[in-house]
């Protein structure tokens, strides 16, 4: 069960983190004037922090949902 919860959770928080990173890169692109490395670095950092934020929240939710079934 633990593995299933982990897999299900990861299928949610990983896309969230990736999208946040991508959104950041797009925003940086739209604003313009940033070197590529800064855009990439920023996207990675924002994505990483988003992963850290979403991981426990999503895992707890999924666990709750799973146990409630």
């Amino acid at each position: 069960m633990e593995k299933q919860i982990a897999r299900r959770s990861a299928s949610i928080y990983v896309p969230i983190a990736l999208s946040t990173g991508v959104l950041f890169a797009l925003a940086a692109n739209l604003v313009g004037g940033y070197p590529l490395v800064a855009k990439l670095g920023g996207a990675v950092w924002v994505g990483l922090l988003s992963l850290i934020v979403s991981m426990p929240l999503v895992t707890a939710r999924v666990k709750k949902h799973w146990q409630g079934r």
């Binding site: 590529l36 988003s50 934020v53 666990k63």
Partner: protein
């Protein structure tokens, strides 16, 4: 089948902050069959209520492990004798596996051993041996080291942690200093001559920083990864992201200076190195100081003597104290500790009970007196019979009570834990926002290449938009650690409950401390609490001036009486050293008094009716009699040879320190109320003597709780002080129930606070300790929140547009360490706390007899 809920305290290691507490609690609550979980960071224990039919200790351990922490376990090998077959193996395994704290026991019949895996501190080797013995086999422990008790284990674990972090600190600080010298090589001025130039090369600085990050800093990465795998975040993650980001960017800028991350001007190796050093410094100081707040419990544990000199079949044998059995005869010589509770059967001595009662003068012990395990025999030798052993002893009960109190959470702590637990995610969100702001707006608008770090001449210079934004984001993560918030309350509660225990005041929970500090009114039960609960002679009125002679005749007449008033007269006469002969004739007249003949005199002693029946005119003494009765005393008339001879007044008298205690409580601004089932006249007389201005008289025992409720009605916090037995409902109704004079049978008492001694001034001590503790909690929380409130905006660069300086990650790490240590050191100031009674020298030394047997279990009057 009936469900049996078990209560267990399970040690948990690896917790560093309030967030860890929340994670462990959550992990345990998710298990089926767990009905209550309270995890304490201060004691590193989880207090659990669970149904063993639904969840085992092994499940609990697994859940804690899965959450990224550990339940420390140990292994013990027992040599088991007497096993002959597979069924014996099952018996022994069954007996061991049933013990609370045993995770797994496997028995090898071939070599006659039992390997027991158990939770350290929950079960002892002796308990295992006893369990094996009970199913018919003999067990011997292999290796003396295995017999180390829970105290030693806890101390060893703490010392290991201190040693581990100390080692980390030496590496991180030592190498970090070299990194600092290398980084600021250009600013060394004349000292450049003695510093090799290669130390300033970026790749050398990088090489030096790497072992710091991968050595002392590794714990933050491994711990946070363990948590992340299970979807939990803790303080370690803040450090790991901070150190990792600083180190990662520094490596990229060193290896690929043109990559656009700020180049060689933004290689913050020293940030990664010193940040690690400061965080490790914080951990080391915390491990060093945190143990000191729990010294009281260790002192109590140390009181238990290791061995007992037991007399069996006329032989003296030395046994481990926990192998003494009820009924054993034990010999105690001068200077030895008393191993268990019991009653003296032979000998005479003075025993120092100060470690349990807080009283300084040794207490006389003679045949029939109770002795308490853990106290120290001073002068003579005596023998006593064990009445309570193991977990039943007063000392074990006190230790359990203090441990439970330290593991409990005050309402204020629950709020602090909730804040700290949710803080880390909030901080990460904030770190994203800070990064986005500085990346998209702040850098362009406010960045000044001439700006620098606080307390550093180092200019930010060519740092790019990404490097600058990342720096501020990382600093926010590092400075926001809510360690201090998490430590603020439990450390103070731990010190407070320990300090109270030193004075013989046992708080059953942190909630009791919090409420005791907020009291507005205090209700005292009269009989047995404010008064002695037994009548004493208060006045002897002899018109002829021969009071002693009058008392002597009254005592002779009453000598054969079993009436409490008569006993009071005899007691007083004996106390005054009067010589009492036997009465020749004695007759008791119910509802009247007694008629006696002694020394050729006819003595009448009783009430008005007796005198009226015998036509004796007491009109001349009637004004005095009425005055005595108005004062709540019982006036007894004495006539000798048909002539009025005088009066003897008997009353329940105040305890020695009742008036002083009430006066001190008044001075503290509390309303003091007395509650009693007695008639109003007697109650008011006692209240006048003790200085209480509000009396609730003629209240039936079952109505006392209602009266307390009425006092609480305006929203006031009320304490009830009673003897803990018949006042139970009122004690339960009050916010703080204080059971006084309960001797040492503490666990059975109702009430939130137990006063070991029969000294009512300890009510004042309890309130003063509670106030001091809560003061400390508030101070700690204030400083912890001030630190975060000021630190976060500074770290986020709020003032950068105005002052052009920012906090470096390493300075943030130092501030974070300082905040935790400040809170712990502030708590340690409680160690010097002394109640006002001690300050003013008001507490008189205990009289011989001290903790009388009347206050001990089984001897209650």
């Amino acid at each position: 089948m009936a469900q049996t809920i078990q209560e267990r305290s399970v040690p948990v290691s690896g917790m560093t902050c309030a967030s860890c507490v929340a994670h462990v609690e959550r992990a345990l609550k998710e298990l089926p069959g767990i009905s209550s979980v309270i995890v304490s960071l201060a004691t590193n224990k989880a207090a659990l209520k669970y149904d063993p039919a639904q969840v085992s200790l092994a499940d609990i351990r697994r859940a804690v492990d899965d959450a990224g922490y550990t339940v420390p376990s140990d292994e013990l090998v027992l040599d088991v004798r007497g096993m002959t077959c597979a069924s014996c193996v099952a018996h022994v395994e069954g007996a061991l596996n049933e013990l609370p704290g045993v995770l797994k026991a496997s028995v090898n019949l071939g070599i006659g051993t039992a390997h027991v895996q158990y939770v350290a501190g929950m079960v002892t080797g002796n308990q295992m041996k006893r369990a094996v013995h009970e199913v018919g086999y003999e067990a011997l422990e292999r290796g003396a080291a295995a017999a180390a008790d829970a105290v030693d284990r806890e101390r060893t674990a703490r010392q290991d942690e201190i040693r581990r972090q100390g080692r980390n600190l030496i590496i991180a600080a030592g190498v970090g200093l070299v990194v600092m010298i290398g980084t600021f090589y250009d600013m060394l001025g004349p000292f450049k001559a003695i510093v090799p130039v290669f130390l300033s090369y970026k790749w050398v600085i990088g090489l030096l920083t790497t072992p710091i990050v991968l050595g002392p800093g590794r714990q933050f990465f491994t711990n946070s990864w363990r948590g992340l795998k299970h979807g939990v975040t803790d303080m370690n993650l803040l450090y790991a992201t901070g150190i990792g980001a600083a180190y990662g960017i520094a490596v990229i800028n060193t290896l690929f200076p043109t990559a656009g991350f700020g180049g060689e001007g933004a290689t913050f190796f020293e940030s990664a190195a010193l940040l690690t050093a400061f965080i490790v410094l914080g951990r080391w100081l915390e491990a060093l100081t945190r143990g000191r707040t729990s010294e009281a419990i260790r002192k109590l544990m140390k009181l238990q003597p290791k061995v007992a000199h037991v007399l069996r079949a006329g032989q003296e044998i030395v046994l481990p104290a926990d192998e003494v059995e009820v009924g054993d005869l034990i010999l105690v010589r001068p200077g030895e500790g008393i191993p268990v509770d019991g009653n003296v059967v032979e000998g005479y001595s003075a025993v120092d009970e100060s470690m349990l009662t807080g009283e300084s003068l040794p207490v006389e012990k003679k045949t029939g007196d109770a002795v308490i395990g853990g106290t120290l025999n001073k002068t003579g030798a005596f023998k006593f019979r064990a009445t309570k052993v193991g977990k039943e002893t007063a000392l074990a009960q006190i230790i359990k009570l203090v441990e439970d109190a330290q593991a409990s959470k005050a309402p204020i702590q629950k709020l602090a834990d909730w804040v700290a637990g949710h803080f880390i995610l909030g901080v990460h969100v904030l770190a994203v926002l800070v990064f986005i702001f500085w990346f998209f707006a702040g850098y362009r608008a406010f960045f000044n290449p001439g700006s620098s770090f606080i307390l550093s001449p180092y200019k930010l210079g060519e740092i790019g938009v990404f490097g600058f934004s990342l720096l501020l984001s990382v600093t926010v993560l590092v400075i926001s650690c809510p360690c201090a918030v998490g430590l603020a309350t439990p450390s103070a509660m731990m010190a407070g409950t320990g300090k109270a225990a030193e004075y013989g005041v046992l708080f059953k929970g942190a909630e009791a401390i919090e409420y005791a500090s907020q009291l507005q009114a205090i209700v005292f039960d009269k009989t047995g609490t404010l008064t002695r609960g037994e009548p004493s002679v208060t006045d002897v009125v002899a018109p002829g001036g021969k009071a002693a002679e009058l008392l002597r005749l009254a005592a002779i007449a009453e000598r054969n009486s079993e009436h409490p008033l008569g006993e009071a007269i005899v007691r007083e006469a004996l106390a005054r050293g009067l010589d009492l002969a036997d009465a020749d004739v004695f007759d008791s007249i119910p509802g009247r008094g007694i008629v006696a003949r002694a020394e050729g005199k006819a003595i009448l002693l009783g009430n008005r009716k007796l005198m009226r029946d015998h036509n004796i005119d007491f009109s001349s003494l009637m004004p005095q009699a009425e005055q005595l009765e108005a004062d709540g005393k019982t006036a007894m008339f004495i006539a000798v040879d048909q002539t009025p001879a005088g009066l003897v007044a008997v009353a329940d008298t105040l305890k020695e320190f009742s008036a002083e205690a009430v006066e001190r409580l008044h001075r503290m601004g509390l309303e003091v109320v007395m509650i009693t089932g007695d008639n109003r006249r007697t109650a008011e007389a006692i209240a006048r003597q003790v200085g209480i201005d509000r009396v609730l008289a003629e209240v039936l025992p079952q109505d006392k709780a209602n009266e307390v409720k009425k006092l609480q009605a305006p929203g006031r916090k009320v304490a009830m002080v009673g003897d803990g037995v018949n006042d139970a409902p009122a004690l339960a109704q009050a916010e703080v129930g204080i059971a006084i004079g309960s001797g040492t049978d503490v666990a059975k008492e109702t009430g939130d606070v137990i006063l070991i001694k029969d000294d009512i001034r300890d009510v004042v001590v309890a309130i003063e300790v509670a106030k001091a503790t809560m003061r400390k909690v508030r101070q700690n929380l204030f400083w912890a929140f001030v630190y975060n409130t000021l630190g976060i905006p500074l770290a986020a660069g709020l003032f950068y547009p105005l002052v052009s300086v920012i906090i470096s990650p390493e300075l943030a790490g130092l501030l974070m360490a300082v905040s935790s240590v400040t809170v712990t050191l502030n708590t340690l100031l409680l160690k010097g706390f002394m109640p006002s009674i001690r300050h003013s020298g008001g507490r008189s030394l205990q009289k011989a007899g001290g903790l009388q047997p009347a206050h001990l279990p089984g001897n209650a009057v």
